[in-house]
Symmetry: C2
Subunit: 196 residues, 2 copies
DNA sequence: CCTTTTGTCATACAGTCGCATGATAAACGA
DNA sequence: TCGTTTATCATGCGACTGTATGACAAAAGG
């Protein structure tokens, strides 16, 4: 077993163990020992790939950013019109089923954690502009295709759309909305953008 | 000093110490000892008013809900038209200055914590419908006053407005938006609701 | 064969955690 | 005045924390 080890795979394995711990017991119960147990390895092995707890959390944060990005890209690729892309990608970000709830629970935990850790905040800020500019791009494409009103400010609409999604995530995770209500809200908002 | 003590005041004092700890060092570093030190009292004294850590956090959560509610009510009382009320109360919820950032940092921490604690989630769900129905009420009033388009669904608009606010809070606390951008976004959205 | 590298492990360390307990002092009711 | 209640405090307990260290096994290079 020694010598030849796929470091990338090991790191991903650790990151996913962190994800599961955060999802099941919250950020407060993330510890090297707990994560090691969840990953099925000894504490020393975890320490070999991750020297500090902060680094471990940062690894898990980057990993989930990549994961979400891949999911969004995959969903976007299956749509035909810009408006469909927009709607589908926003839906992908909302906690409408178990897997998306899983991602959003972890995301919200890191959101709060980032307020206190500048390293994590910096990692969070990396993905955000990408998503916002992607949204804005789709809005502009939908405008030229006649799917959305031409007078909309694509940049501001993208920001509002993303903020709306994040806010809905918060409310839904504390149990305020059902998936049906969430989808209805999004469609109501998007319909508003169609008419001139 | 013994015997006659204002329990309400003591509890508020403890809750505010919890708030400061959460704001400065995050939810993870909330402990009975740290809070006691922050409150300037011994750990035993804290335990006398709060038997468990979870109870202490719940106290701090309820207290901040009350605080935000009072602030919103106070701001709303100083406005003349329904649309002004709406705009002013949403602005009050956003991290546009140090005090509102303070409140929102703590709020976001509890938002994440509530995902894992059902007690806290229940407390969170108490205030939410009140705010949403208040928003909806103001929207309807603005509609009858001719300030907002009559065809809007007041309930859905209220939900979207609140979700937008929460989402903007998240992004701003991570350092993505400046206060000016936040205010511009809100005004852009509200302006959209004016025209028919 | 021997040495070096790579990976894993158990353990030690000082510190903190939540919670429980018993002592103590101040003010009230009798 | 005396006991009771109210409030505060210091301290102990076992468990857990993040990090550091040294031993050790398996493969690779000489």
């Amino acid at each position: 077993m020694p010598k030849i080890v796929d470091h990338e795979a090991r790191r991903r394995h650790i990151a996913e163990a962190v994800h599961r711990v955060i999802h099941d017991k919250g950020m407060e119960s993330v510890s090297l020992r707990v994560v090691a147990a969840e990953a099925g390895m000894s504490m020393g092995a975890v320490q070999y790939y991750v020297t500090t707890k902060d680094q471990m959390l940062l690894l898990a944060l980057e990993r989930i950013g990549i994961w979400i990005g891949e999911r969004v890209a995959a969903v976007a690729a299956h749509q035909s019109t810009p408006l469909d892309v927009l709607r589908a990608t926003v839906l992908e970000l909302l906690p409408l089923d178990e897997e998306r709830s899983y991602l959003n629970r972890i995301g919200l935990a890191f959101q709060a954690s980032s307020v206190v850790s500048e390293d994590q905040a910096a990692a969070m800020r990396l993905g955000l502009p990408l998503l916002l500019s992607f949204f804005a791009e789709q809005i502009r494409a939908a405008q030229t295709a006649g799917q959305l009103a031409a007078h909309l400010d694509a940049g501001k609409e993208a920001s509002i759309l993303y903020a709306f999604a994040q806010g809905v995530v918060n409310a839904t995770l504390v149990g305020h909305y059902t998936p049906e209500e969430v989808a209805a809200l999004l469609d109501y908002h998007l319909a508003r953008l169609r008419a001139g």
